[in-house]
Every structure is written in structure tokens, then in C-alpha cells.
Amino acid sequence: MKRILKSIATIACAATLLASCDKIDSNEYLVFSGAAGEWFDGNGVSDHSQRAIIEKYTGVRCVNCPTADVAINDALAQYGDKLIALAIHDSSSFTRPIGDNPRLSTEDGNTWSNYFGVRAAGEYPAGLISRTLNGSAWDLFTPTSGINNRVDNILNNDAQVAVAVDATSNDNAMTINVNLEFLQTVADKLTVTLLIMEDGLVVTQRQPDGSDDENYVHNHVLRDVITDIWGADIDCTGASGEKRVALFNYTPASSEWNLANCHIVAMVSKKDSREILNVAECHID
């Protein structure tokens, strides 16, 4: 019996030394591929759609802006998820709140407004679709009309890069996944710009007849640019077929935003020219 005990003890000791198996809990089977903002090989994008984004520079004291909202809403209804709208309140006098309403301006929006020449032109509303050029100048226009032909010019082309974005929020800590799939070879250096916008903001808006509508609902309002204002560099070769993915972390800058009404927008742009190649939008889960 002594021999048996010795044998068992020997085996037990050896087994203990080797029994360093890793056990992974089921909620930890998956981990993020790397540090936030780093790019890795991804699994591609199932929706290869080309999309366009219309940036509307607007203000609560701009009397023609509600008319532009109607035109943009019509376009959104027509193009469905192929068109994304973004309302940018810069720091012009048109954005000064009426009464004691909150100001919808953002510093990021003001920077873009200055860069694209909206402030200098001083004409509101101003529209810019996917940051395209008209000759050597930005194709700014009054978005009460002329939306469709500009959108068609973009959507009639096959996407060079397919984009998908998804976002989840847990205790105010947001993780945003951006997936790219190159459908054509792209030689330019690219960036991705992430922003958060909010729907359903009831803020007084001056109407075309000069009256103030206290129950005016503002949608697609730019709240914050999550990445650098000109985007985060995309680490890629740009070769056709390449699939890249990156995760970004974000904590909403204000607790007053209703995340249930917020959307995340991802814009893939040429780094040098700022032109937007494609764009995607998602709810926050």
C-alpha cells in the first residue's frame, strides 16, 4: 500500500506541475484585436454600397434653413440609407439661440465652416455633398434645391471603399468599430472621421415668415467629432480586396445628449483633398 501511495503522490506532483491549462470564461472568448485606433486585417463589409453625405450649415436664426430641411428630408426619403444628412451649426450670428434655448454650435463645426468657406461666404443654409469640388472650389450650394443631381453624381459610381460602422455603449463608454473593404485599389492616403450627431432636439427656429417656432425639431445635429477633425489615418495599402478594421473608444462629451437619439457617422476621406469616398452611419446599441 505504501508503494501505491508513493506512486499516486509522484503522479499527482507531476500532474500538478503540468496542469497549467488555461481556462477562458465564455464571456472572454473574444477580445478586441488591438489598441484603440489601430488597424488590423478585418473580415470585410457585407454591404458594398456607395453612399453620400450632405452637410448642411445652418442656424436657428436662418429663415431659409427650414426650407432646406424640407428639401433634405425629401432627399433622405428618396435615397434611403444611401444618403446621410448632417446639420452643422457653426458660430455665425445665425446660430445665436433664440430666447433661452441651448446653443447648438460646436467648435468642430465652426472649424469646418471656416475651412470650407461657409463663414466667408456668409450664405445660409449652405450645403456640401461628400465634400466634392466644383472646379478648384468646394461645391457649396443652397440646399433648397439641386440636391438630387449632386447625390446622383456620387451614387452612380461604384464604391471604391465599402464602409461599415457599429457602436455600442456601456455605462457611457462607447466602442465604435469601423470596417473597411477596398473594392478598388486606392492610391491616396485615407482617413476616417467619426462623429456623433443627435436627432430630435426641440429648439426654437426662425421660420421663413419671420416667426419663431418653439417646437421645431432639429435632426442630424453635429454634437462632436470623435476622431481628429480631419480624421484618423487609415493604416492600409489601399489594394483592391484589402479588409481593415479598427476600434475606437469614446466617452460622450456631454451627459445631456440622449444616446438613444444619437448616431455615429464614419466618413472615409482622401487625406490630402478631404474629399469623402464613402460614408456609413449607425445607431448606438
Binding site: 508503494r3 503540468l18 497549467s20 491549462c21 477562458i24 478586441f32
Partner: protein, 557 residues
């Protein structure tokens, strides 16, 4: 002269040189010890044949050569194996291409202690947690390069421990550690020493280490959180009482996402049970096994047969006749249930069924199915659940009856009937079940002491039909004939032909000539080899079609 031709000549000269040197070493003796070894050279020339699907070989000649040399001096031994694949023969992985010393070791053994450094082969129990072995005909070599220690502290107790890396063609991969203990209770319990019942218990634990790597999940942006240390353990028993025997082993494996299981985290388990009875003229055996996600490799991302740490015992009969072995069963380490029964009986001489010389019958049946599983997710999940006794699709079924009878003092006839059900899914592609009936007649006529003539006739009827899209050249109904003549005790010549006469394609003729003298054997063959699969012990490799000359030389010293 081309570089390839120079390589071929150099390889032939190298083999010749090795034989000469080894003979000299043996004649002289080395430091009081002695040298033994063996040399094998297999060569192949194949050319294009559009019917059977063979291709021209750019090198013209393909060859696998090896020379094993073993030096022993008392308790000490050392050995090496030189291998040359210039270029590998058809069906062998091209990663073998090259030549060099593939295996070397030094070993010291006493009655109670043995240690081996270098390459070694080892098996714990039935191999369900660890089996490092080599099968040259499968092109498989899972040798471990490291340290292997065996210690017998008392009579009846054997302890083993090892650590090392596994051979991967011309490289080594992974890190494997293992311990095994086996205790014969009859040897260590004094009162059991003379007992008729003998009981041996054993257990093993094996773990592998593999560093982290990026395996992307199906969810974008996320990769798998991989276990870097994966363990497998087993318990086993061997009980014998007179002619009865009962062996069993149960093994479990920790989370081991790998390319074999589509990177799921389900733990693995396997159970193997064998019960047998034998007495003079009769033996019976029944085996059962259940394997669930038990593939265990030292590198998670490598598919194919290399780098397996463990082995799942085969539960189907390994047939030798051509048509019975045309659809061999490949063990599904990802999951299967199997049952096999084997019965042999010898009718005695001078009985109704035994006749003048006696009659041997051999009945074997096996059935293997998949598991009853419920899928719960893909990569990066637990994958599926399974019920322990539930069965899934039929993978393989086999029933054979073999009757062997001496018709006279010089003539022996063996007749075999086999029925087989085969699911192509075990070879990785969808398709209907094949149902095959096979008849074999094998007649051996011993003309005199030095001359033996053998005839073999086979027929296979199958419900499978050749489909160019699937291109399984085994499909259809087949007949085969073989004549083999052994003369002067040294020479043999055989001629055979397999022909798909219905619903199939191909006519595979072969002629072989062989010569054996002492420990040297030379064989030349010419003919066509059908594309298919060969399996040994449930481990298989693809055999591509070939059309041409084959030759082999084996010698030992």
C-alpha cells in the same frame, strides 16, 4: 546535365556510400558496440494519363529514400536517420522536399531507468492523450525532439515523462510536455501476485504550450482570446481474467480552439472500450468508442496529419484486399461514435464444416456515425452541444465474412464477402451514401517448396456512379484479377488488372517483379495507380493517380 539529374545521381551515390560505410562499420565494430540499420529507396516515374487523371512529373523521377543507423553498446545506444525526398513521391507533402538528418538520438537504458535525448517516439496508453509515431507510408512523422524519461521505481510501476517539440517536415514546432503512470496491481500488491485476475491502471496528462496569435473572430474588430496552455488527461484500465479481457480509456481535453474544430472553445472528450474473449480456435472482440472534439495538435493553425499530439484508435477493420480497402474510413477526431464486433472461429479438422483440414471463419462488422449535436455558434463560441449517447449521420458501415479453407495439402482458398456503406462527408465533401457489395476469392497453390502460385479475383458492385463534377474515380462497378507467382524462393512476379466495367472509369493494370536475397529486397512495378485514399489505423493520406514505373529497394544490416 541538369541540376535535377545531378541531384538524383547524388542521392543514389549517397545511398550507395552509406551502405558501404555502414557495412565497414559493422565489420569493424565501433568501440566495442555494434552498428545495425536499414536502407529503403522508393522511386517513381509517372506520366500524363487523362483518363485516370495523372500528370507528367517535371522531375521525371521522384524518390523517397531513408537510412536508419543504430549504434548500441551495452546500455547505451545512439541512432540517426537520413532522409532524402528528391523530390517527394506523389501523394507525399511537398514540404518534405529536401534531404538531411531528420532524426537523431542518444539513449541510455537500464532495467529501471531509461533516458532518451533527441528524437523519440512515445505513446501513453492507447494514445488518446499522446502518441508520437511514424508511418512512412502515410508520410507521417510526429516524432518529438526533446527528452524522454522512463522510470520503473518498483516492479509493476512505470512512470514516464517527456518534453519536446514535434517534427514538422524539416522543422520542429510547438512545445509538448507529458507524464504517464501505469501500475500493475498484481505486481505491487503481494496478495494479488498469483491472482488469476490481472488489473493494470494508468493515467496520463499532456499539455502543450503555444504563444498567442491573431485569429480573427467572425465579429469584426475582435480576435480570439486563445488559451496558450492546453491540457489533456486520461485514465485507463486493463482487466484480464483467463480468456476474458476488458480495456477502457477515458480522455478529456481542455479548451483548444484550432483550425480542426473551427476555433471553438468546447472541451473535448473520448471514451474507448474493448471487451474480448479468446480460447483455442475462437476469439471474439467488441469495441466501442465515442470521440467528441478530441483533435489535439501542437500547433492550432496547422491542418493535415502532421503535428498531432494524440491519436484516436481506429474502430474499423483495416482490410487488405483492394476493393474492400477502396473506401477506407478516416477517423473523425472532431466527433464520431463507433462500434465494432469481430469474431473468429476455427472449425476443427474432421468435422462437418471443418473437413479434412479445418475451416477458419472471420466475421467483422463496424458502424461509425457522427454525433448528435446542436449548433450554438461558430468560431469563438462553444460551437455545439452533444448528447452522449445520441448519434448523427452514418459515416461508415462495414460487414465482412471471410472463410478460409485448405482444399488439399497444397491448395488453400479464401473467400470473402463484404458489404460497405460509406459517407463521402468523412473525406470532406457532400454526397450520397455509397453502398458496396464485394466478393473476393483468393486461391493459393503451393506447387512445391519453392514455387507458389496465387490467384485473386475480386468484384465490387456499387450504387455509386462516376460524376465528372465530383471526379471520384472509385465510383462504379469493378472487377479485378491478379496472378502472382513466387519461384525459387527469391523471385516473384505478379500481374493484375482492375477495371470499372459499369458506371465508372478506368482500367488499372499493374505488373510487378521482385527479388529477395537475405535481407535485401528489390521490386519493380509498372502500371497505373488509381487516385484515392489510403488509411492506416484510421489515419489517411491522399494518393494521386499515377501511371508509370515504380521501384523499391530495402535492405538491412
Amino acid at each position: 546535365m541538369s541540376n535535377k539529374a545531378i541531384k538524383i545521381i547524388a542521392a543514389a551515390l549517397a545511398v550507395q556510400l552509406q551502405v558501404s560505410v555502414f557495412n565497414t562499420l559493422q565489420a569493424q565494430g565501433i568501440l566495442g558496440g555494434h552498428v545495425t540499420g536499414n536502407v529503403q529507396f522508393d522511386g517513381q516515374l509517372s506520366r500524363r494519363d487523362t483518363v485516370i487523371g495523372s500528370s507528367d512529373v517535371p522531375e521525371k523521377l521522384l524518390s523517397n529514400a531513408r537510412a536508419d543507423i543504430l549504434y548500441t553498446n551495452g546500455n547505451f545506444s545512439a541512432g540517426l536517420r537520413y532522409e532524402a525526398y528528391l523530390s517527394p513521391m506523389l501523394g507525399f507533402n511537398s514540404q518534405y522536399s529536401g534531404q538531411g538528418i531528420a532524426n537523431y538520438f542518444v539513449s541510455y537504458k537500464t532495467q529501471t531507468f531509461a533516458v532518451t535525448a533527441g528524437h523519440f517516439y512515445e505513446q501513453f496508453g492507447n494514445g488518446m492523450t499522446l502518441r508520437a509515431y511514424e508511418d512512412r507510408y502515410l508520410g507521417l512523422d510526429n516524432a518529438i525532439r526533446g527528452i524522454d524519461v522512463v522510470y520503473r521505481p518498483w516492479n509493476g510501476v512505470t512512470l514516464k515523462g517527456l518534453i519536446g517539440q514535434q517534427r514538422y517536415y524539416w522543422d520542429t514546432r510547438g512545445l509538448v510536455r507529458g507524464v504517464d503512470a501505469e501500475v500493475s496491481l498484481n505486481d505491487i500488491v503481494n496478495s494479488w501476485t498469483e491472482a488469476k485476475t490481472r488489473l493494470t491502471l494508468g493515467g496520463s496528462f499532456v499539455s502543450k504550450y503555444e504563444g498567442d496569435e491573431t485569429i480573427l473572430s467572425d465579429i469584426s474588430g475582435y480576435k480570439l482570446n486563445l488559451p496558450q496552455n492546453v491540457g489533456a488527461g486520461s485514465l485507463r484500465m486493463d482487466l484480464a481474467h483467463g480468456g476474458f479481457g476488458l480495456q477502457a480509456e477515458y480522455a478529456r481535453k481542455g479548451q483548444d480552439p484550432s483550425i480542426m474544430n473551427n476555433y471553438i472553445y468546447k472541451t473535448g472528450e473520448a471514451l474507448w472500450i474493448s471487451a474480448s474473449y479468446s480460447q483455442k480456435g475462437l476469439s471474439a472482440n467488441i469495441q466501442a468508442k465515442r470521440v467528441d472534439n478530441m483533435g489535439f495538435k501542437s500547433v492550432r493553425s496547422v491542418s493535415g496529419e502532421m503535428l498531432y499530439i494524440n491519436y484516436t484508435p481506429s474502430i474499423t477493420k483495416q482490410h487488405t484486399y483492394a476493393f474492400l480497402s477502396m473506401y477506407p474510413y478516416a477517423t473523425q477526431s472532431t466527433g464520431e461514435m463507433g462500434l465494432q464486433a469481430d469474431f473468429m472461429y476455427k472449425f476443427k479438422k474432421e468435422t462437418l464444416l471443418g473437413g479434412k483440414y479445418g475451416t477458419d471463419i472471420h466475421i467483422n462488422g463496424s458502424l461509425v456515425t457522427g454525433l448528435d449535436t446542436t449548433v450554438i455558434g461558430g468560431k469563438g463560441t462553444d460551437g455545439y452541444t452533444s448528447t452522449f449517447f445520441g448519434t448523427g449521420d452514418t459515416y461508415y458501415g462495414d460487414l465482412s465474412l471471410e472463410v478460409a479453407k485448405k482444399l488439399s495439402s497444397k491448395v488453400k482458398l479464401t473467400g470473402t464477402y463484404g458489404y460497405m456503406v460509406f459517407n463521402p462527408i468523412v473525406e470532406g465533401h457532400e454526397g450520397d451514401l455509397h453502398h458496396n457489395h464485394i466478393l473476393v476469392a483468393d486461391l493459393t497453390w503451393k506447387i512445391n517448396r519453392k514455387n507458389v502460385l496465387r490467384f485473386e479475383a475480386e468484384w465490387m458492385g456499387s450504387d455509386s456512379k462516376y460524376d465528372a463534377n465530383v471526379d471520384d474515380k472509385r465510383a462504379g462497378d469493378w472487377i479485378m484479377g491478379l496472378v502472382e507467382y513466387n519461384f525459387t524462393s527469391a523471385w516473384f512476379v505478379s500481374v493484375s488488372d482492375q477495371y470499372a466495367y459499369k458506371d465508372g472509369i478506368g482500367n488499372y493494370y499493374n505488373i510487378s517483379v521482385g527479388y529477395t536475397k537475405n535481407a535485401t529486397r528489390l521490386q519493380l512495378g509498372y502500371g497505373k495507380q488509381r487516385e484515392g485514399i489510403i488509411c492506416i489505423g484510421g489515419v489517411c493520406r491522399q494518393v494521386p493517380a499515377s501511371n508509370g514505373l515504380t521501384f523499391s529497394l530495402t535492405t538491412s544490416f
